[in-house]
Symmetry: C2
């Protein structure tokens, strides 16, 4: 339906992005923020058509898509606000010390944009983590032109979102090269983009195989570039004994909802529940199974994802010593994912890497540990994750410092007595985690700190005020927070007398 | 003289670092800062022996070594101060919104340490960028245990510095695993360290070949880890026409000093001077040549570096259309580097990649450009650099916006009317730059922001005050700057009533 971009079209887009960068990268924060807000307006004005098209392409229900579109608008607007406030610029000024021996020169530092960014959107988030999603918004706010490669699973929705962005670019009087939108169903087109000399960073949300291949291609460039790939997570939940005794039924209810939310198609879906074998865990499993049997299968994003769920679920359930605890009482139709809970011993988990793999869909595996030391071994064996969750009382936490440390090691966000699904868009969010959850645990893809992914520091030594960027001028005309001679302040910087 | 560590010793050191990490990573900022200050004390108390040993090993003159040792002490103390102040922690708090639909959970975020770090010191800085240098200081401040692989060119000095660090570790009552020191002359021992599962980040200062090999090895791990390698730079200087007319002799004098400072053995040595062909540039070259002829050859760090200088200098001077402008009037003795200025046309430079290579030593190549457009082509063809310098009047800068942009693209620090040598230790310093100057342009290796290299964010969702780290507690007991509900403040955070 949509024609794949040719090699020449990819070249032209990358070169246009690069030649636009010299002007767009110098655009004021206010003007970049205005672009983000105008994109939000254009999406909002076109929301009916966007929702209709996305409903047709993705099998996601309308309320979920409406929520996601609202989230997308909120992201654009809140990243515009935070971006304009400028804390992400890490402004530092050390004024000259002409009397020192040797004299200290005036030094000032701020974040500058990396250059053109390629964004690969997520299959499971046609709005919030695709064409006009978080990667595009933060790259544009950082001062980087963006090229989006549309996800083939929602290419028409992507076209509409791209058209809204292009209208916003023109409305703000900016050159077309600020944003481009390409189709490409082959890995080769992605690789061409990532290895193009005009491209300076990459945002990706998707599978481990896809993200890792792009990461490797970027590292093999003559000049390696950063790839921010979010690649999947099983989001382990540790059920500690006091808490489980206290609120077994309530926890089961909470988790039945989280495991099946949006047919389990969230990157923060809890795919592993770890508890101490015994009466309380049995009660929890019984209750969770009861809930799951009452939850109907749901239509998955597209046929490929439904097939992958069937295959991975079958593989997991067929492993030695894995027991199927409960499945939905209603049989699934074509393209649906069936809610499923399985269980296995910690020993089986520790010895079988297949049980560590994500089963993307409404599935969770309960691990029965013989004792706390086995639970600690399980925690230490789990690979990098976006989140780790503790269902625990204060006493549980204080009795298990080693478990706390082990969980901190493997994740980017630790949740206490809650569920990992539901990723709040705010500055304190960290949506990222150690490899293989992401390729770079030091950066988030949600919240305004995600702007930092697309910037690097630049120091200006001995520049007169008139030639410095606004953000670093003595008078602090933008009233930003800056660290001046080691003190955080919004006051002007005072240069020593030239005498 | 020093025995290379065996595979088993490397394993043991990495495992000891990892098992120490669980306690050291939780040590308070105050206690980590005390460790850095105690290391400084121990080095200072032992300075006589350190200087004597380093003088014997490196051929660096005593005053230069004394300066470098002072710089090392200043780094440890100023990084302790900045580290304890805690701005690098990027503290963010978003308090719960229980009335919102859906309710927003309490979210708090801070930087946590990455884990054990391996440091490969620099041959040209036995103190400040080696065993007790910037990488070690910032990794320890971040909460990471450190393993240093001693540079074979100053292994005895490294032993002494390591002993001082170990004494400080014991004085502060910390376990031995916080710091380890190993010898290894083969690349294999370096690779074993970098690919060890217990190692989580790497600091390196040295050659492109060495840094790139470690970077590649780290990226091929099952879990890739960050490598911060600083790998060399020719630090181009652009001589703009108004400025050259104004102060030709003064500029020549300044640069004769910078090119030959410490026998040209600084990573920020200006190896390329770019000007507009004509009378002013001829005058500058004449004057620079005159100065260079009067500067005596100097003993280089060790025989290998002196040999490499001879080879690379000969290779550069033998290139077609490269003219030798001036050499020191005094012939060099064994192991000395002879001050040398050569020149070539921009056309020759643009067509010959050999002229883009660093000649580590007191050497600089002057490029004659036919016009400003050729100068711009030169700027755009240069690879990533630590610094770029402009000798320019205000008018020069304002007349050449494209050149400004091109230079910003290729460097991490832009100097106006100064020299790139002399890297100030302060928060505004950025010592880093696009590949191949470093492997990660987003981080500095000088100044307290270098602590950030060894940390990653962690979000805590829905944790009660009593279980949170000090830095994130409601009352803000450490009086740190934190962004609370999007406002930067030192005030306590207020949780909403639980009602």
């Amino acid at each position: 339906m949509h024609t794949d971009a040719s090699r020449e079209e990819i070249d032209r887009a990358a070169e246009a992005a690069w030649s636009t960068f010299s002007s767009y990268g110098k655009l004021s924060l206010r003007d970049r923020a205005s672009l983000l807000r105008t994109i939000a307006q254009e999406l909002e004005a076109n929301s009916e058509e966007l929702l209709k098209t996305a409903t047709g392409e993705t099998s996601l229900p309308q309320p979920r898509l409406q929520n996601e579109l609202n989230r997308t608008l909120f992201q654009l607007r809140s990243y515009a606000d935070a971006g304009e406030r400028g804390e992400w610029l890490d402004l530092r000024i050390d004024t000259a010390l002409p009397q020192r021996n040797p004299p200290r020169p005036d030094l000032r530092k701020m974040q500058i944009p990396l250059g053109p960014v390629v964004v690969f959107g997520a299959s499971n988030f046609p709005f919030a983590y695709s064409t006009a999603g978080g990667d595009t918004a933060t790259a544009l706010m950082a001062g980087c032109p963006v090229i989006v490669k549309a996800h083939p699973a929602h290419a028409a929705t992507s076209e509409l979102a791209a058209a809204a962005i292009s209208r916003a670019v023109r409305q703000r009087g900016l050159p077309d090269g600020v944003f481009a939108h390409l189709h490409g169903s082959s890995f080769e087109s992605g690789r061409q983009l990532v290895t193009h000399p005009c491209i300076k960073a990459v945002g990706f949300t998707g599978s481990y195989a896809g993200g890792k291949a792009l990461f490797d291609a970027a590292n093999l460039r003559k000049d390696p570039i950063p790839v921010f790939a979010e690649m999947g997570s099983i989001n382990p939940v540790f059920l500690l004994p006091h808490k489980l005794r206290e609120s077994c039924a309530q926890t089961a209810l909470l988790y039945a909802g989280s495991i099946t939310l949006s047919v389990g198609q969230f990157c923060t879906n809890p795919g592993l529940l770890v508890g101490l074998d015994g009466e309380d865990l049995n009660g929890f499993i019984r209750e969770l199974g009861e809930q799951i049997r009452h939850i109907a299968p749901g239509r998955m994003l597209h046929a490929g994802i439904a097939q992958a769920y069937r295959d991975k679920r079958s593989l997991a359930l067929s492993q030695e010593s894995v027991e199927t605890v409960a499945v939905s009482a209603e049989p699934p139709r074509e393209g649906e994912g069936i809610p499923t809970i399985a269980s296995a011993t910690a020993k089986a988990f520790l010895n079988n890497p297949i049980l560590h793999q994500e089963v993307f869909g409404p599935y969770s595996l309960v691990i029965r540990c013989a004792d706390m030391s086995e639970m600690l071994s399980v925690a230490r064996r789990i690979e990098g994750q976006l989140t780790a969750t503790l269902m625990a009382t204060e006493a549980d936490v204080q009795e298990q410092p080693d478990l706390m440390m082990a969980l901190q090691e493997i994740c980017g966000r630790m949740i206490l007595n809650g569920v990992p699904t539901g990723v709040e868009v705010c500055l304190s969010m960290h949506h990222g985690g150690p490899f293989p959850a992401t390729t770079d645990s030091r950066f988030t893809s949600v919240g305004a700190d995600a702007i930092r992914r697309f910037a690097r520091p630049m120091a200006f030594q001995n520049w007169p005020d008139i030639l410095l960027p606004e953000e670093l001028k003595d008078a602090n005309p933008l009233r930003m927070w800056r660290t001046v001679n080691n003190l955080l302040t919004q006051e002007p910087a005072q240069r020593p007398n030239s005498a």
